[in-house]
């Protein structure tokens, strides 16, 4: 035998399945990892475990019905998803929404954003091993859900938007409840930094991990906090303003580091920005109608329409090709999570298994959003 030592003790890469049932993939995402010891050589997502083909279903549905399907894509930004389709229909029909509708939509969207980021924060902490964050995040998120429940009867898939305005008017105590929540939340948000952000282990786990350059961020089509963490100004609310964002002033949070910590901080800062936006609007809800009458059967004119909104995860685009009938000829949802996930391989190769968990966590994936 002429075996050298390196022959006898050679290492080989092996495959490992992360998911579809795995605590860190937040749903039924399956990642096929190629690893060498602890070091990741390749990550390949295997999608489709909950694909419902919403795009095909929408081709037979009316526009009012499609709104209700969009809730089930990114269920954590249900309100913004609804808003995207509603705005598209309203713009196509050239309907002007009353100011009241715009303002309430924006307030609800920002509340949804906070709720989504809170859930993300809790889960992010869990993923890096700090179990208590989950309960903290849910404590405050619960209060937002209560406001949603009182306003429109649902806590998660809200369906509050309809083409032509809102399903119901807000209740008289809505403003007070939101203000109460904000006062409470502003005292709690600094606690989050004390518990997790400033923790030295957390900083070590996230700083410099999962680096994504700005050029790659744009090329991969990442958006939302993932893009902004890489220094790429991609806030749809700034660049293509809609609803009440047209006339309010807010700061787009941008970090240039491009690592996991940067994406984390973008989301934390965004919560502060959302608070500021809501505070700006909550006392100035104009009087007026909460919806505009539409025809029972909405027919979009012939043509192509595109509407983008900023969900909690990034840029959601709705693209409709209409032939002038009551159904879209083709509808495409450009979901933020799908593009963000495609950057995962670039970010993680060379990292450890522990890094993968932290990085997927800051991508803030919602699997129904990717699978649609």
């Amino acid at each position: 035998m002429t075996n050298t030592i390196s022959d006898r003790f050679k290492t080989e890469e092996y495959f490992i399945n992360m998911g579809p049932q795995h605590p860190a993939t937040h749903g039924v995402l399956r990642l096929i990892l190629t690893i060498d010891g602890e070091i990741i050589k390749n990550v390949e997502p295997d999608l489709g475990y909950i694909h419902r083909s919403i795009e095909k279903m929408s081709e037979r549905d009316s526009y009012q019905q499609i709104v209700h399907l969009t809730d089930r894509m990114d269920y954590l930004s249900a309100h913004m998803n609804n808003e995207a389709v509603c705005l598209l229909v309203e713009n196509a029909l050239e309907m002007e929404m009353p100011e009241r509708v715009k303002v309430i939509r924006t307030i609800m969207a920002e509340l949804t954003r906070i709720a989504s980021h809170l859930l993300w924060w809790g889960v992010m902490g869990m993923d890096v091993g700090a179990l208590t964050t989950f309960m903290y995040g849910f404590r405050d998120r619960e209060l937002i859900n209560d406001i949603f429940e009182e306003t429109c009867g649902a806590r998660l898939t809200m369906n509050y938007n309809i083409p032509g305005g809102l399903m119901f008017d807000i209740l008289p105590n809505f403003q007070q409840r939101v203000k109460d929540f904000l006062t409470h939340f502003k005292t709690k948000l600094p606690e989050y930094d004390t518990l997790l952000t400033n923790n030295v282990i957390f900083q070590k786990r996230t700083k410099g991990v999962g680096y994504l350059s700005m050029e790659d961020a744009i090329s991969f089509g990442t958006s939302g906090p993932v893009g902004r963490g890489s220094g790429y100004s991609c806030d749809v609310r700034k660049h293509h303003p809609y609803s009440a964002y047209t006339n309010i002033d807010f700061k787009e949070v941008i970090r240039t580091e491009g690592d996991t910590l940067a994406r984390y901080e973008v989301r934390i800062q965004e919560m502060w920005e959302s608070i500021a936006i809501i505070e700006n609007l909550i006392d100035n809800i104009p009087e007026g109608d909460f919806k505009v009458a539409t025809k029972a059967v909405i027919k979009l004119p012939k043509g192509e329409f595109y509407q983008k909104v900023e969900t909690a995860r990034g840029e959601l685009g709705v693209f409709v090709v209409s032939t002038g009938t009551k159904n879209p000829y083709r509808i495409k949802f450009r979901s933020p999570g799908f593009s963000n996930l495609s950057a995962l391989n670039k970010m993680i190769v060379g990292g450890k298994i522990g890094d993968l968990v932290a990085v997927t966590s800051t991508l803030d994936l919602v699997i129904p959003d990717i699978d649609r």
Binding site: L47, G48, H51, S53, E55, K56, R60, D216, I218, S219, F220, G221, S223, Y232, S233, C234, H239, K302, G303, E304, F305, Y306, K308, E315, G317, F319, V321, R330, K332, R334, F338, S339, L341, S342, A343, K346, D371
Partner: protein
């Protein structure tokens, strides 16, 4: 850059581009499939255009033809453009991949392949993304029939 200026620059490329007359919020241009990759390369690299953000890639079944619609935006100039391409071959539709120009096309083209069966030349890893490997047919095509799973109204 305004849509008119964009149109002027694009006409100079001389790639047989057809500008859409339909009213749309974006300038829409139709390109023959042979010139697709060349056009896309120019759109990305031309310093005045620099369309570096492919924000949507949609497959579509026009009935006779299969097509792909690219929504492009420039993050420096903040102008947008829609590029359309189509192929009449329904049995074996082949288009050029733009994966080498925009990395996001990797996943989006796999999705289009999965649902429309359009094959992308030079795509590094073209396979079914959502559906199982052994799935027959391409569900988002208009002539797709599935009597069990589809509810038709």
């Amino acid at each position: 850059m305004s849509d008119q200026e964009l149109q002027d620059i694009l006409t100079e490329f001389d790639l047989g581009l057809v500008f859409s007359e339909e009213t749309s919020q974006y300038l829409t241009v139709r390109v023959p499939k042979e010139g697709l990759h060349l056009l896309m390369n120019k759109l990305k690299s031309d310093i005045n255009l620099s369309f570096d953000y492919l924000f949507c890639l949609t497959g579509i079944d026009w009935g006779e033809e299969l097509g792909v619609i690219y929504h492009l935006e420039s993050t420096t100039h903040r102008h947008s453009l829609v590029v359309k391409v189509q192929t009449a071959d329904r049995e074996n539709p082949i288009l050029d991949s733009v994966e080498d120009i925009w990395l996001t096309a990797n996943f989006h083209e796999m999705e289009v392949f999965d649902f429309f069966g359009i094959k992308f030349k030079n795509h590094p890893n073209l396979k079914r993304l959502f559906l199982p490997k052994d799935w027959t047919g391409y569900p988002l095509r208009k002539d797709y029939v599935d009597t069990i799973n589809m509810v038709v109204k």
